[in-house]
């Protein structure tokens, strides 16, 4: 191909330039964007995501969250003798050692389990991922080895690796929180097979450390099967490791795990009534953190104890509202009295007695 001199003349030197550029693909390759280090890239990628790599859904996108059919993950393998033996070693050799080294658990009322035989349902308030290791770690091995933990199907059983890990470490089985098919019989089947269950009747971890109303599922199971319920109150786990945290706060925060006397459903007792008794028992145990054992008993007897979803029998102002919130704060979710969210969190993260601002414990 040859150039056209007339065309070139009309445009001055343009053809000379194009000829000069022929074969030269790249001149200034543009301003290179600032190169991010891999650490910065990962940080950007992880921004706003939890430890599982999941992001919260922006509010304006919530109506468009797709409904996905959750895959079924079998968990029966996690209850085989071999799995139980491995889990026992992991639980006591690793998990308990880690949790007990990072926090300062105080366990009370474990003696109430002495007379317990056969399957039971452990119910507890729930505000932290520490709750399950704390309960399993504080239970006697003969009991802990026979406990299956109800875990949110949409959270722990949405990916195979998470499902396998959760089932292995906690003997977890999926609980459908949104009335789907999965819970229909798995809990009942496990009880029939002689397994005790650990359930969190609130359905999810508390967002502010305060106990939420109990759902009726656990009570219904107990009433239907005639199972005893062991109430458990955990105080301080929200302050130690709330939602969104992946590791306990420094300074070995104190956490109290209180077991109550087992409750048995009365003959012909309705599930709703039994749920009330369960919630009241947990609320009373939680109130012991502030009021002491006898004070909590008195509050329950005086019917001034706030029971989540039920309020107090008397419309008395609970201690939390008047500024003497118990450190546990679990007993004081109210129906009749609303509090700002920040005040709930404030109360829930109140340092336990004897703990300095830096989180270190004062010597007595």
């Amino acid at each position: 191909m040859t150039g056209d001199p007339e065309g070139a003349a009309r445009r001055g030197t343009s053809l000379a330039i194009s000829t000069k550029r022929l074969g030269v693909l790249t001149g200034d390759s543009g301003r290179r964007p600032r190169r991010l280090a891999i650490r910065d890239e990962v940080r950007l990628l992880r921004h706003g995501r939890d430890w599982r790599g999941r992001s919260t859904v922006p509010r304006s996108a919530e109506p468009w969250v797709p409904e996905v059919a959750e895959p079924e993950f079998p968990t029966a393998w996690a209850r085989t003798p071999l799995a139980v033996a491995v889990r026992g070693g992991l639980l006591r050799g690793v998990m308990k050692a880690v949790v007990w080294s990072q926090t300062a658990p105080v366990v009370q009322g474990i003696s109430y389990l002495d007379g317990l035989r056969g399957p039971a349902v452990f119910v507890a308030n729930h505000s932290s991922h520490l709750d399950t290791p704390l309960i399993l770690g504080s239970l006697p091995p003969r009991v802990a080895n026979r406990v299956a933990v109800g875990a949110a199907a949409d959270y722990f059983f949405d990916a195979r690796w998470r499902a396998v890990t959760t089932a292995m470490l906690f003997n977890a089985f999926p609980v459908e929180r949104y009335r789907s098919r999965r819970l229909r019989s798995l809990a009942a089947e496990l009880v029939d097979d002689g397994w005790s269950l650990l359930l969190y009747p609130e359905g999810t971890r508390s967002e502010d450390g305060w106990m939420n109303p109990f759902r009726v599922g656990a009570a219904h199971l107990c009433v239907t099967k005639g199972l005893p319920v062991v109430p458990i109150a955990i105080s301080g786990s929200y302050a130690a490791m709330p939602r969104g945290s992946g590791w306990p706060q420094p300074g070995r925060p104190r956490i109290a795990i209180r077991y109550g006397r087992p409750l048995y459903p009365a003959e012909n007792e309705k599930a709703g009534d039994f749920r009330h008794r369960m919630a009241e028992a947990v609320a009373r145990l939680a109130a012991e953190e502030e009021l002491g054992w006898y004070g909590a008993l008195r509050a329950a007897a005086d019917r001034t104890l706030e029971v989540p979803g039920y309020g107090s029998a008397q419309a008395a102002t609970p201690s939390a509202i008047t500024g003497t919130a118990p450190a546990s704060a679990v007993a004081l979710s109210t129906r009749g009295v609303e509090m700002a969210r920040w005040r709930r969190i404030w109360a829930s993260t109140k340092p336990a007695p004897g703990v300095t601002r830096t989180g270190t414990r004062r010597r007595r």
């Binding site: 191909m1 150039g3 056209d4 007339e6 065309g7 070139a8 009309r10 445009r11 001055g12 030197t13 343009s14 053809l15 330039i17 194009s18 550029r21 022929l22 074969g23 030269v24 693909l25 790249t26 001149g27 200034d28 390759s29 543009g30 301003r31 290179r32 964007p33 600032r34 190169r35 891999i38 890239e41 990962v42 950007l44 990628l45 921004h47 706003g48 995501r49 599982r52 790599g53 999941r54 992001s55 919260t56 859904v57 922006p58 509010r59 304006s60 996108a61 109506p63 468009w64 797709p66 990916a159």
Partner: protein
């Protein structure tokens, strides 16, 4: 059921969002309150594509079934969209191949011997034999190439015919073989609302003499937008020309629409909403981004250009052009339309690696301008997503790179003409004719693989509406030299760009980000 498009309002829960920047992408934390316009989820593709094509050919809209239009001894010309569609190129078999094969089967059954296939490349570069083979398939290529499968030549005077003038005085000059055929079958892929319909024959087979009536600054400034045909002066011109063509020529139009499956499975995260990325998507993002940065520029070009989209076909419509195109547009809108409430002070656009004119080539600065201020800015119906006098911020490195074979006139346009002026009207009046008629460029267009000499002007006009509408144009990460040559500014970061825009839009501007690709057409109310 695919989810519709929607507008996200960035809140504290929103993770950093993906933004394309040429042959790369980044995650960018956007300011709170930014409106992000997402396209609808990809629609499911038709499972039985061949059956859908057959149905369309046998039960067309507004005309007889194709077999009834075929007869022995007739002259049949099959015209198909060139390599500028779709973007990126689709995986084989190309939908054009599937359609052409079925048309040819019917033609063979009807005893048609005189068949020609023409790529409707207008003033685009010729397609190479390999590109033609990839588009029409091996069987068709072997049977027709080179004598009866060729590119349209808009500078071959002997093979052009002037059909007349429209009532508005517009010349209609198209390919002689097509004009003298008993039947023209046009095989189109409608990727954007501006494509297909009256545009196909009147542009794809036209000459400069005909194109200059709508590819000019005045028309493009009054095409608001050119993706909204009823409000596009350019499409009004197409319509007038198509009426004239239809009065003299029998055209059987076949139009296919695609879903939004733009990226292959290895980079499927590019098709997902960021808060729905799983661990695998995040790992893929990191791996692809880091790997991409390690590649040398030429290797990176090759890698990106070899990305073939696993498109699904969402519709095949056939028949008379005027009857077919509304159905095609309805199908397209189902896939691309998202309602947007109001305009913003600032619009953000991430410009991808591909535009219609750099397939198997290089995206030079003029093409970046055309992609941003032309194609992306005009992805609206009603009103632009940015208010008049607002600022457009684009992400692209705008490298000073040109393909010397494909874009020779672009080099001169960039080096010689833009240094004089960037005003489209001045460019049009003073320089267009020279470039359009330069024998050297004509030679390169006809015998090499060059875009026509006038093509860089058209690319500049493509952005004329945006240039008139916007108060400022800033390229994040853009080369200072190239952006300044084009009359724009460059910034290192989004924060810098917002700071630079603040004298125009204030310190608390409203911002909209058009989250594309996949393509989304903003229906701004």
């Amino acid at each position: 059921m695919s989810r519709p498009g929607f507008v996200l309002e960035v809140d504290e829960r929103t993770p950093p969002l993906l933004i394309h920047e040429g042959e790369g992408f980044r995650l960018e934390p956007l300011p709170l309150g930014t409106k992000v316009i997402y396209p609808p989820d990809s629609l499911p593709g038709i499972r039985q594509v061949d059956a859908a094509i057959r149905r369309a050919l046998l039960a067309p809209e507004g005309t007889e079934p194709l077999p009834e239009l075929l007869s022995p001894g007739m002259r049949l010309t099959i015209v198909f969209d060139d390599i500028s569609l779709p973007l990126p190129q689709m995986r084989t078999p190309d939908i054009r191949q599937r359609i052409i094969e079925q048309v040819l089967e019917l033609a063979a059954a009807a005893g048609v011997d005189d068949v020609e296939l023409i790529a409707a490349n207008s003033l685009h570069r010729r397609m190479t034999p390999a590109e033609l083979r990839r588009t029409v398939g091996d069987r068709v290529f072997r049977a027709f190439y080179p004598d009866h499968l060729r590119n349209h030549d808009a500078e071959d005077r002997r093979n052009l015919v002037h059909l007349g003038k429209t009532p508005s005085g517009e010349d209609v000059e198209i390919n002689r073989r097509a004009a003298e055929s008993d039947l023209v079958v046009y095989v189109n892929i409608t990727l954007t609302a501006m494509s297909g319909g009256p545009k196909s024959v009147s542009v794809g087979l036209a000459s400069y003499r005909s194109l200059r009536h709508h590819h000019n600054v005045h028309t493009l400034r009054h095409s608001r937008s050119f993706n909204d045909p009823p409000h596009s002066a350019m499409h009004h011109s197409y319509d007038r020309m198509a009426s004239l063509i239809d009065s003299q020529l029998k055209v059987f139009q076949i139009e296919a629409t695609l879903n939004n499956d733009v990226f292959p499975s290895a980079t499927r995260f590019l098709n997902k909403r960021e808060w729905e990325w799983n661990v695998g998507d995040q790992a893929s993002y990191l791996a692809v981004r880091r790997g991409n940065r390690l590649l040398r520029p030429m290797a990176r070009h090759r890698v990106w250009q070899s990305q073939f989209a696993p498109y699904g076909i969402t519709g095949v419509n056939a028949g008379a052009p005027a009857a077919v195109h509304p159905r095609t547009l309805a199908s397209l809108h189902r896939q691309q339309l998202t309602e947007v409430d109001g305009q913003s002070d600032i619009a953000l656009f991430g410009l991808p690696f591909i535009c219609p004119y750099n397939v198997n080539s290089i995206m030079n600065p003029i093409l970046v301008m055309s992609l941003g201020l032309g194609y992306f800015f005009n992805l609206y119906r009603g009103r632009p997503i940015v208010r008049e006098g607002g600022v457009a911020i684009f992400y692209h490195p705008v490298p000073d790179e040109f393909h010397p074979v494909h874009h020779p006139s672009y080099i001169d346009f960039f080096e010689e003409i833009l240094t004089e002026t960037t005003d489209p009207l001045v460019l049009e009046a003073k320089y267009e004719e020279q470039f359009a008629t330069d024998p050297w460029y004509v030679q390169l267009y006809r015998k090499s693989y060059a875009y026509h000499g006038v093509h860089p002007f058209y690319m500049w006009y493509w952005g004329a509406h945006a240039l008139e509408h916007l108060g400022d144009v800033i390229f994040v990460g853009g080369s200072r030299k190239t952006t300044a040559r084009m009359g724009f500014r460059s910034a290192s970061t989004l924060s810098d760009a917002l700071e630079m825009a603040s004298p125009i839009v204030g310190s608390s501007p409203s911002i909209s980000y058009l989250h594309a690709p996949p393509l989304v057409l903003a229906d701004v109310r």
